[in-house]
């Protein structure tokens, strides 16, 4: 089925693959990841995303003997039909060359069996490096990884489960997987124009990853999207301790001319609108979101249409 996306999550054992997966998709708090044990073999998880898309995440345990299996006996099974390979390398790894050798053998298999797949390399545990050194340490590794991946293209991100960098990396991975993303974006741009908004962000509801945004007014902070994802996700996690079964959330923040409104848009997405125009009243924003709902629901259904025909010919 076209809407099932196979995502491979690989890397040496202890690099933090399962930790980041649990935080993004299973509502773990960073502190809770200490309780996770090592992954045995391959753990599959199916994550329903945007209602129609299913992420089939293959969390591949990183111990050497498993790795040997992936590369030789299970080669076809693992690497065939993958859309994304996410390779995680811990920043504090003692033998970077060792990690890179594994990485290269994965690339080789991938290039052979899924040549179209996107490759992402995450440098994890960046929190162990002092703030001022992070950039430098990251770029050293990035250039080395890029060199070793040639002729394939790779995107690298620094991540840490303790801050918002994790959301940046995963947002961009998800972004590349959503079909129809261009339609979402153009609709969002139009919507932002009509509302005279400074900024409109579209989130996936379960993970609060940002899947599309429209910026009409320059903002000095380039990292704000990840921060917002992180802030809202944290609140959601904490609040669900008090309010059982938290499925909808609406936030309205007004500070002088600044109005921030977060609301559910479709059953699978949430929208955040930021407006500083003093002539726009909060009630108008709510009304506009209400009106836009139908349009975005239709966009989502467009996604679904081919899949539904495939599954149930009667529809």
């Amino acid at each position: 089925m076209g809407n099932k996306k196979k995502v491979l999550l690989m890397g040496k054992s202890g690099a933090g693959k399962t930790s980041m997966r649990s935080i993004i998709f299973a509502n773990y708090v960073a502190r809770d990841t200490r309780r996770l044990g090592p992954t045995m073999n391959v753990e599959h998880s199916y994550i329903r995303f945007l209602g129609t898309m299913v992420l089939n995440l293959w969390d591949c345990g990183g111990q050497p003997n498993y790795f040997d299996n992936y590369i030789t006996p299970q080669r076809e099974q693992i690497f065939k039909g993958a859309e994304v390979l996410i390779f995680v390398i811990s920043v504090e790894t003692k033998e970077l060359q060792d990690d890179l050798r594994l990485y290269q053998s994965c690339l080789e298999a991938l290039a052979h069996l899924s040549p179209e797949a996107k490759i992402v390399c995450l440098i994890s545990k960046m929190d162990l490096i002092a703030d001022e050194k992070r950039e430098q340490e990251f770029s050293v590794r990035e250039s080395e990884i890029k060199r070793r991946s040639l002729p394939l293209k790779v995107t690298c991100y620094p991540t840490s489960i303790w801050d918002e960098s994790l959301y940046k990396a995963w947002s961009s991975i998800i972004y590349s997987l959503v079909p129809n993303i261009a339609k979402f974006e153009s609709s969002l741009n139009m919507f932002a124009d009509i509302m005279r908004a400074d900024e409109v962000l579209l989130f996936e509801k379960a993970t609060y990853l940002i899947i599309a945004h429209s910026v009409r007014r320059k903002h000095p902070d380039g990292h704000r999207f990840e921060k917002i994802s992180n802030i809202i996700k944290q609140f959601k996690l904490n609040a669900s301790r008090y309010v059982a079964n938290l499925h909808t959330m609406r936030m309205e923040i007004i500070n002088g001319d600044l109005k921030i409104l977060l609301d559910m848009l479709t059953p699978n997405t949430a929208i955040m609108v930021v407006i500083t125009d003093p002539l726009v009243y909060p009630a108008a924003i709510s009304l506009n979101i209400q009106t836009a709902r139908k349009h975005f629901e239709m966009l989502e259904k467009l996604d679904r249409a081919p899949a539904m025909q495939f599954g149930d010919p009667k529809v």
């Binding site: 917002i228 309010v243 079964n245 909808t248 936030m251 500070n255 500083t276």
Partner: protein, 350 residues
């Protein structure tokens, strides 16, 4: 002690004098309650101060150096309380003859002593020092409140363990005090940890006792609850997330956690998009709606304080007008309460 650090001079007998020569600064000094943080070394005094007032993450406190001199921190978070936090390092035993310490000066100007006991260590060793402090301070200033924080409870897994430790400490301390005929001294015990909300909750209770207007505020919040069918309301100091008053329904730490998370979210999001203008700051307001049936309202009532309420089972469309109006009345009433205080302190000056 050849070297005396400058701040310690304030404690010395001669350093207290300058205040009485200038009436203005004395009045200010009087209006500013002092809270003394004490405890054995490494019990977590600095960590508490840093986490609550400087917004250091609890994980970041492992990097804190141990305090070597008495530290004074002005906490000017709100107009209601201008208090001063005095942190006395644990390795400095104030009853040792080699330490130049004027107990009179230390305790006479102080409203509350917070004594911190590290319950992950052998807590019994902390009790004699507590006993010494209580006997000495009570003699000098019988009005002092003693608050005992049984700290680092995060190391204890079970609630039963926490309660057992509290009971045992309570029993030992009261027995010692009874033995020296000090039954009248009331100590309050709190179980705290910087890794959850308990430290904020405990500090809130401590601070509330120092507010003379507390009964008025409580009354106002009760009335507000009654009129708007609010479940719980708090008057928060936004910066420190300490609440200076709440209604008289029983305390609920989960509710405090929810409200405090809301404040974090609102401030964080507003900070990202704020263009840096402070003038509008007093207008901050926010509404959170959870599952279409629970609501949190936040409204800033002055530069530092915000009224936060939680309600459930009402229709937002119908109630929001009512809430808005009553919040406005509350704000006005609060201004009146403030006014009385400023008028009083002015009269005192004259």
């Amino acid at each position: 002690m050849a070297e005396i650090n400058p701040p310690e001079l304030f404690i010395g007998s001669d350093a207290i004098q300058p205040f009485s020569q200038e009436p203005v600064s004395m009045a200010e000094q009087e209006a500013k309650p002092q809270i003394i943080l004490m405890g054995l070394r490494r019990c977590g005094k600095s960590s508490i101060a840093q986490v609550v007032f400087n917004k250091i993450t609890p994980n970041g406190t492992v990097l804190l150096e141990s305090t070597t001199k008495i530290e004074f921190t002005d906490i000017e978070t709100n107009t209601f309380l201008h208090y001063e936090l005095v942190e006395i390092p644990g390795q400095m035993d104030i009853f040792e003859s080699t330490v130049p310490m004027n107990h009179e000066g230390l305790f006479s100007n102080c409203d509350a002593v917070i004594y911190i006991i590290d319950c992950s260590d052998s807590y019994e060793s902390a009790l004699p020092y507590l006993y010494q402090i209580v006997t000495c301070a009570h003699k000098i200033n019988p009005k002092i409140r003693f608050e005992v924080f049984i700290h680092k409870t995060d190391v204890l897994r079970q609630d039963g363990d926490k309660l057992a430790i509290r009971r045992s400490i309570y029993y030992k301390v009261t027995r010692d005090l009874q033995d020296s005929c000090l039954e009248a001294v009331k100590l309050h015990f709190y179980l705290t940890s910087i890794y959850d909300y308990s430290i904020f909750e405990a500090l809130s209770s401590v601070v509330q006792k120092l507010i003379p207007e507390l009964p008025t505020l409580e009354n106002m919040l009760n009335l507000l609850n009654q009129k708007c069918r609010i479940e719980k309301s708090y008057l928060f100091d936004l910066h420190s997330k300490i609440y200076i008053a709440t209604d008289s329904t029983p305390l609920d730490i989960a509710m405090y956690a929810l409200v405090s998370d809301m404040i974090d979210t609102v401030l964080d999001l507003a900070n990202i998009y704020d263009s840096g203008s402070d003038a509008k700051d007093a207008n901050l307001s926010s509404t959170f709606e959870l599952n279409n049936k629970s609501f949190l309202f936040l409204k800033k009532v002055n530069q530092y304080l915000a009224l936060v309420v939680f309600m459930t089972g009402e229709d937002l469309q119908e109630t929001s007008g009512l809430i808005e109006y009553n919040f406005y009345l509350f704000k006005k009433a609060l201004e009146n309460v403030f006014e009385i205080r400023t008028r009083k302190s002015k009269e005192k000056l004259l």
